[in-house]
């Protein structure tokens, strides 16, 4: 009897996509944005983005010409916004692979509607992220020295340096994410190849569809490859931001040299990643009329993840203080008290408010289902996570010897580089939504009732 009610419970779970959507409807819906004649709205997004991206290029050119002195960095704050932005973007670049790989392995079917989208976001974020460590070095033209290639100097990079680990970690993460994303795209590319009418379109999709014909054989290989890549990508999700956190944790500076950093950074990264996915998704699903595919159910789940990771981050903040006190090191303790009360306390409390306090609203389902509110919260999450990195870097202002303490303030060029990177990000994104299926149709189709071999059993709740 109560067994029955259980089953009822199961049944009452909302469908992942609107049950009225059949295969063809989904295909139509997803392909629509590509087949439309370019909407004005798209241009309204695209043109400013391109201009911003161009300004980024300009700023970088001037930076290389004039020297890193154009930024606000100084002694003692040798790392400024460049590194803040780097960590910020890498963090954002987390959700994608997490959603696609980890949730895939955990058989979280609800991921299907959003994974393509968030993977794309991951790639673009990582692209932005990589640009910063590259431009922030003093002699960019010698950057190739970090690559272990034989040379007439018999000199090798220093493998003990966290920065070198970064180079490998982030680039591997980037390439695996790209591969994973691309493999997932293949069936849909084939679909597009067969739908589009323009010669060029056919040609381009055709090249990248790798001659996919959807035969069972293709599907089997596809499934295997996708599964393997998922397995490969999952550890990377955890490793990449752990390694990024080593940039700070491996140093011996008060406020940086702490063992909590790796988990705290990963959680923060997922947090910020989901924040950004929400931000973009909430806009996109409206603009491209995907409400039936990206349902409240998905959004609700993402909101829950945001709440969870946000709270983990909050715990980390508290733990940092405890450890600083418990360590008995006056330098550690001072560093943290200084964060909360020192000249940059404003940044610290902004961070806490945005990352810990505001997300608590999401305990309430009503709030989780309020799209506008959710959008605002996601923006706050993005801001908060940027400030988290800023707070960490700004810890440099006051370390061991008071004689060397200083202040830091960004210059015009810090700001232009930061905003410029958003230009790059959105430019890539606009191109993505315009020319590639932003939702994995093939995968979504697997979760619609039509895909169920025994729909009537599903209806009566018979065991699968």
């Amino acid at each position: 009897m109560d067994m029955r009610s259980n089953v009822d419970l199961v049944d009452r779970r909302p469908a992942l996509v609107d049950p009225h959507e059949d295969f063809q409807a989904i295909t139509k819906r997803v392909a629509a944005p590509i087949e439309w004649k370019t909407p004005i709205g798209w241009w309204l997004f695209f043109i400013p983005s391109v201009l911003l991206a161009a300004s980024y290029g300009g700023s970088v050119a001037y930076l290389v010409w004039e020297g890193t002195g154009i930024w606000g960095i100084n002694n003692p704050v040798f790392w400024g916004w460049a590194i803040v932005n780097f960590v910020f973007w890498v963090g954002i670049g987390h959700a994608g692979t997490l959603i696609s790989a980890v949730l895939f392995l955990f058989r979280q079917k609800w991921r299907t509607s959003i994974n393509r989208f968030s993977e794309a976001m991951t790639l673009f974020a990582v692209a932005c992220a990589l640009s910063f460590p590259t431009i922030h070095v003093g002699r960019i033209w010698l950057l190739y020295w970090v690559a272990p290639v034989p040379n007439s100097m018999l000199a090798w990079p220093n493998f003990r340096s966290p920065l070198l680990w970064d180079v490998f970690a982030v680039s591997i993460y980037g390439s695996v994410s790209l591969l994973f994303w691309y493999v997932g795209l293949i069936p849909d590319l084939a679909t597009m190849r067969d739908r589009v009418t323009s010669k060029l379109g056919k040609f381009a999709y055709g090249i990248f569809a790798l001659g996919w014909r959807g035969s069972t054989r293709h599907w089997r290989h596809y499934e295997v490859a996708y599964m393997l890549l998922a397995g490969l990508a999952t550890p990377l999700v955890l490793s990449v931001h752990s390694v990024v956190s080593f940039d700070f944790a491996v140093s011996q500076l008060p406020g940086w040299h702490t063992t909590i950093f790796p988990p705290y950074f990963v959680a923060g990264a997922i947090f910020s990643g989901f924040g950004m996915v929400l931000t973009l998704m909430l806009i996109a699903r409206v603009i491209f009329k995907m409400e039936n595919i990206v349902t409240m159910h998905h959004i609700d789940n993402m909101a829950k993840v945001v709440l969870l990771t946000g709270s983990i981050v909050g715990y980390a903040y508290a733990m940092e203080f405890f450890v600083a006190w418990y360590s008995g090191s006056q330098y550690e303790l001072f560093a943290f008290i200084n964060r909360a009360t020192g000249p940059y306390a404003g940044a610290y409390w902004t961070m806490v408010t945005c990352n810990v306090v505001i997300p608590q609203i999401l305990w309430f389902q009503k709030m989780r289902h309020n799209i506008v509110l959710l959008f605002i919260i996601s923006i706050f999450v993005n801001i908060g996570m940027w400030f988290e990195r800023y707070v960490i870097v700004i810890t440099l202002t006051r370390d061991f010897l008071p004689s060397s303490w200083g202040y830091y303030s960004p210059t015009f060029w810090d700001v232009s580089c930061f905003l410029g990177s958003f230009g790059l990000f959105f430019t890539l994104f606009c191109l993505f939504v315009r020319f590639l299926p932003m939702i994995a149709m093939a995968e979504v189709k697997t979760v619609v009732p039509e895909a169920d071999p025994h729909p009537e059993e599903a209806a009566t709740g018979g065991a699968h």
Binding site: S152, M153, L154, F203, G206, G211
Partner: protein
Amino acid sequence: MSHTFPRWTNKIPTIVALAVPVIGVGVVFGMLYWFSPYFTDVGYMPTQPVPYSHKLHAGKLGIDCRYCHNTVEKAAYAAVPPAETCMNCHAYVKKNSEKLALVRQSYETGESIPWIKVHQLPDYSYFAHDVHVTAGVGCETCHGRIDQMEKVALHSPLSMGWCLRCHHNPEPNLRPISEITTMGWEDSPEAAEYDWASDPHRIRNNLQPPQNCSGCHR
């Protein structure tokens, strides 16, 4: 799927097949240049303002290197000699030779002869002749058979790796102090059985060729 790809695309495999070897060859030659002594200019042999022949002076006449490069044992630079040194002989020998006009002029006016530098290190690397010479590294080891050069040409790449190889293991390049300026000693039989460690005439036997940065970069 012929309707997907235009006909010409059938050529793509052929093009690729042809392109790959070409690119490959390009890479090989690129490596040959960039990763080889060509890049470090081995063989660079400029025409000097005065047609001075080491082949004649060092080789045929057998003048010791140190007669002209007399600071080699006491300073970092094995200084190019002042015109005065040339005039020691050429005040009497070939005193009116056309080729020596510049030398005589320099001697009288004190105005330098603009020799073109053949062996050139970057400004951030500091090399000292004296310490190498007194350690028993011969002129020949780095400069080659000067006694056979009509015009002096660059014999060694002078790259960091080239320096380090010897600093890692100097033994093969050591010779008796008495043979420092001897040309062709390396190929001589006594070079084969020379044991530097047991040489009583050496100035010092505890060689510690620096392998750390500040050994050469300051």
